[in-house]
């Protein structure tokens, strides 16, 4: 959960403050473009939608027939070699997950808890052990032990395989610029294209069950492994590499003796992030037979929302538990920090033996006491569900003061005065004016190449016939990003200035990034019963923590000399902040804007499920109404929109790709 911090810290950003007359500043020029677009809007409101001539209307049908063909092939009585191989893979993965699950359950819950806690203690220390024990105990207390173990085994399998695939690729990308460039767009696509779009092909190829769930999870959790590993290798100081080369190291010596050991921390961070990304797919994995905590989330939404929230909480707890434990293990086992003498090593050995003996005893006790495969006793699930339910009842009550006078009016205001006007503006402005406007802004803010990419992406959206939906989505994305950035910058600066705020924000950020949005989005529908708003809130809650982390890191990393110099000239703390730190952290703040957009786009589908029209709704429809073509086309549009907005807001401070791709 600390990717962004690490990553921004890794690359020192050159800061060049520009001096231009105010009327030629980027903001003013961009504003002029917007004025131009407004003129176009009033001149020809709703007259020029994307022309049908420029649409490839048969694309959806082609995609649909492809899916039918694939299914027919796969369900033949004797499928061909390709499908037999694919079936073999999914069978193997099923077995792997089942094996892990069996191991976790057959150890009995006593055994699993003790072994895992002692393991965390031995390699991560007391704090890690406390997190492990606390996490496992809460799964038991929530009455979700079995589901948690299913999810844990799925996540462990997916993480192991993601690392097996991702780390080598990342190391290769770290050593070859060209390979990195070729890989980046693929990774972008894997992360932005919503899982709903490829769920059906995955199911046709790999059937349903844990195997298919692992594959789907991996599509999302391989990219962070690749990116962070590549970044780690790149982060090895070039003079060290040069020195090693000068001393005559071969390529493999360079890798094994210099680059890998020095990139150790980043590689461990890759492990940690992969776990978290894998956990964020739990609900989707449940839709195709992944079982585990995703099922009570999905099912609870219609039958018992309190259960869905409880299961969501278990997912968050698992994420925080695994995050803190892996982080602690990474710290403790860092060879550069450990200098054990002979006695220390002997002690460590004794501890290991002690841990093994204690584990064996625990497993034995588990069997002897016949603790059973699954923990079912002494849960506080009913009590918790009743508490959650009472909160939900309050939320769903339209007679409360907060509903009548705060949330409902606020939601109406947002919709009527911000979201709808912007939506109408983007949808009704002639398409060529919109394209020209976006491209011009991209040119002003980011330069020629990004402007060309923006033009191509907007063209692609029109070509696949998603212009109107994409404009619906774009309006929501823009508003959600604006709110996320405002909130994120404010909190980020505050956190950078105050250690206390920073400590409070970290767990909140962790929760918001791993709690499945489906869990909290429905309560927001009760609070803001109006389309657009609940989906937008979900986007903001997911996006602003990233902005906070980036901005906090950026402001903290401002060169101390600059701050000291300002202090020496007698600047107040406020002046230092406003005149020195924030301007110097401009880079990180711009990156925050950019990342905010990407994160908001990642929630578009969930927003579609929670009442927001646009591309997300179509992607859901694609899966659930068997309109494969529609889902794919809408996903392409989401990807194109993401790339276009990324380019518009990228800014032109040189090559920033390596940094922004990570989270």
């Amino acid at each position: 959960m600390s990717t962004v911090d690490e990553v921004v810290g890794a690359v020192p950003a050159p800061v060049v403050l520009e001096h231009r007359p105010w009327w030629r500043s980027r903001a003013v020029l961009s504003a002029l473009v917007v004025v131009g677009m407004l003129a176009g809007y009033y001149a020809a409101k709703g007259k020029y939608g994307w022309p049908a001539v420029l649409e490839w209307s048969s694309l959806k049908t082609h995609l649909d027939s492809f899916q039918i063909w694939l299914s027919d092939q796969s369900n033949e009585t004797s499928p061909n070699l390709f499908f037999r191989i694919v079936n073999g893979i999914s069978g193997g993965l099923d077995t792997l997950v089942r094996w892990l699950y069996d191991a976790l359950t057959k150890l009995t819950w006593v055994g699993t808890t003790v072994v895992a806690t002692l393991f965390a203690w031995r390699f991560g220390g007391l704090r890690a052990a406390a997190f492990m024990a606390g996490g496992l105990a809460s799964f038991a207390a929530f009455g979700l032990w079995d589901e948690s173990m299913q999810t844990l085994s799925l996540v462990l399998a997916a993480v192991a395989l993601s690392l097996a695939v991702g780390l080598p690729l990342g190391i290769a990308a770290g050593r070859s610029e060209r390979f990195d460039r070729a890989l980046t767009p693929v990774l972008d696509a894997m992360q932005i294209i919503p899982a709903f779009a490829y769920l059906m092909p995955v199911v046709i190829l790999f059937s349903v069950g844990p195997g298919a769930a692992v594959i789907t999870t991996m599509i999302y959790s391989v990219p962070p492994a690749v990116r962070i590993a590549s970044l780690g290798i790149r982060g090895v100081p070039s003079n060290t590499v040069e020195a090693a080369k000068a001393l005559g190291s071969t390529g493999s010596q360079l890798l094994w003796k210099v680059q890998l050991p020095l990139a150790r921390r980043m590689l461990l961070l890759a492990v940690n992030q992969t776990i978290l990304f894998a956990l964020s797919m739990v609900v989707i994995a449940g839709l195709i037979g992944g079982s585990g905590l995703g099922d009570p989330v999905t099912n609870g939404l219609n039958t018992n929302p309190a259960v869905a929230i409880l299961a969501g909480a278990a997912i968050v707890i698992m994420a925080i538990m695994l995050d803190r434990v892996t982080e602690a293990i990474a710290e403790r086992t860092d060879p550069t920090r450990r200098h054990l003498d002979e006695a220390g090593r002997r002690r460590a050995r004794m501890t290991t033996i002690g841990v093994l003996v204690a584990s064996a005893v625990a497993i034995g006790v588990g069997f002897a006491a016949n603790a059973g495969d699954i923990y079912t006793r002494y849960t506080i699930a009913d009590w918790l569900i009743a508490r959650i339910q009472s909160v939900l009842d309050f939320i769903a009550d339209p007679t409360t003061f907060s509903f009548q006078h705060i949330t409902n009016p606020l939601g109406n205001f947002l919709t009527q005065h911000i979201l709808l006007p912007l939506d109408t503006f983007l949808v009704a402005t002639p398409w060529f004016v919109t394209v020209a406007g976006f491209v011009a802004i991209a040119f002003i803010l980011s330069g020629l190449r990004p402007a060309l990419v923006t033009a191509a992406m907007l063209g692609l959206i029109g070509l696949v016939g998603e212009w109107q939906s994409a404009m619906d989505t774009a309006s929501q994305v823009l508003v959600a990003t604006a709110i996320s950035v405002a909130l994120g910058v404010l909190l980020g600066v505050w956190a950078a200035e105050s250690e206390k705020v920073s400590r409070i924000l970290r767990p909140i950020n962790d929760i918001l990034q791993t709690l499945p949005q489906l869990v909290y989005v429905i309560p927001f529908v009760y609070l803001f019963p109006i389309s657009y708003v609940p989906g937008m809130i979900a986007s903001v809650l997911y996006a602003f923590p990233v902005v906070v982390r980036l901005v906090e890191r950026g402001v903290r990393d401002v060169a101390p000399q600059a701050v000291e110099a300002a202090g020496a000239f007698g600047a107040t703390r406020r002046q230092v902040l406003l005149k020195v730190k924030i301007p110097l952290a401009r880079d990180a703040i711009m990156l925050g804007v950019n990342q905010g957009i990407i994160m908001v786009l990642a929630v578009v589908v969930i927003a579609g499920l929670a009442s927001t029209p646009g591309l997300g709704y179509e992607v859901v429809q694609g899966l659930q109404r068997n309109e494969f073509g529609l889902g794919v086309v809408a996903s392409i549009a989401i990807l194109a929109l993401g790339i276009a907005l990324d380019r518009v807001t990228r800014g032109n401070q040189g090559n920033r790709r390596t940094r922004e791709d990570v989270s």
């Binding site: 059906m200 054990l340 529908v525 009760y526 709704y617």
Partner: protein, 325 residues
Amino acid sequence: MKVGFRKSHVRIGVVAVALAAVGVLVATNAATARNGASCGTVTLNEQAWAGSTANTYVTKYVLEHSLGCKVKITQIAEIPVYEALAHAKVDAVLEDWQHVDQYKQYATKQKSVVIEGSNGVNGHIFWGIPDYLMKQYPQFKTWKGLKGKESIFKSPESGSQGMFLGGDPSYVQKDKELIQALGLNFKFVSVGAEAAQTARWTQLVKQKKPVIFYWYTPQYLNAQYHIVEVQLPKIFKGCKEDAKAGGAVAQYRCAYSTYPLEKVFGAKFAKSGSPAVAFLKKFSWTNDQQNTVATWIAGLHMKPDAAGEKWVKANQAQVNKWLGK
């Protein structure tokens, strides 16, 4: 650094030994795992609505207690579950809302699933309004009464038009086309998944405000919130049901039909001769019965297993019929 390396070898060795120990334990345990009864394991798929949960847990109780089967419940989404049935990963779906395309592809063409007939429940999609509104405006009995009155359904996102609250994107629907064909001044507002739609309209109903929305029966909420139907034009020959089919809006100018909900078995399970097959084939109950159990589960938050047991114990005669006793 070198020391660290040797150290880690030791550690790897230790971990390997531990894993091996675990492996042995698992293996010995698996060997003693219980053998299934003659019925074996039956995998039922529970869909994400309360009626489906009711079907699944009532049959689960009977399968376990009268036939000695082991029941596994999966929760796979409606369309992917067809692949699961085809691959024999799921044995039966007890309530399918007429996925005609899938019937063609999987049952007729591939013969990988079998449509086993109705579960007794009749599904019907309609335009719903709360009964207090019907009392206030008796003309809403048919769609014609809505004409000219659309603006009472105004909402912040519908501008000067009335708001029509659309259904879950995964359900069969044609409301945009209907609104256009009937010349009503409604703005179709999509509200996302069923849970979100429910949140939206229940919030309005609790405040006794006007609302008109896509809805369906059997649904346990209908009784709780007194939802009544607005009559749409009569069904004519060739009238289309699902906007997915495309074509002119005039072809959609009719009510949604009422149809039986189907049981769908995987081909392998259907041919397996398991006693579970005979029972599930006979399983059939009414909308009211399903609603009762659904209300227990979703409305009163009873545990699904307990609800299944309660219903079976109270309706032993009907259950015996399903069992062919």
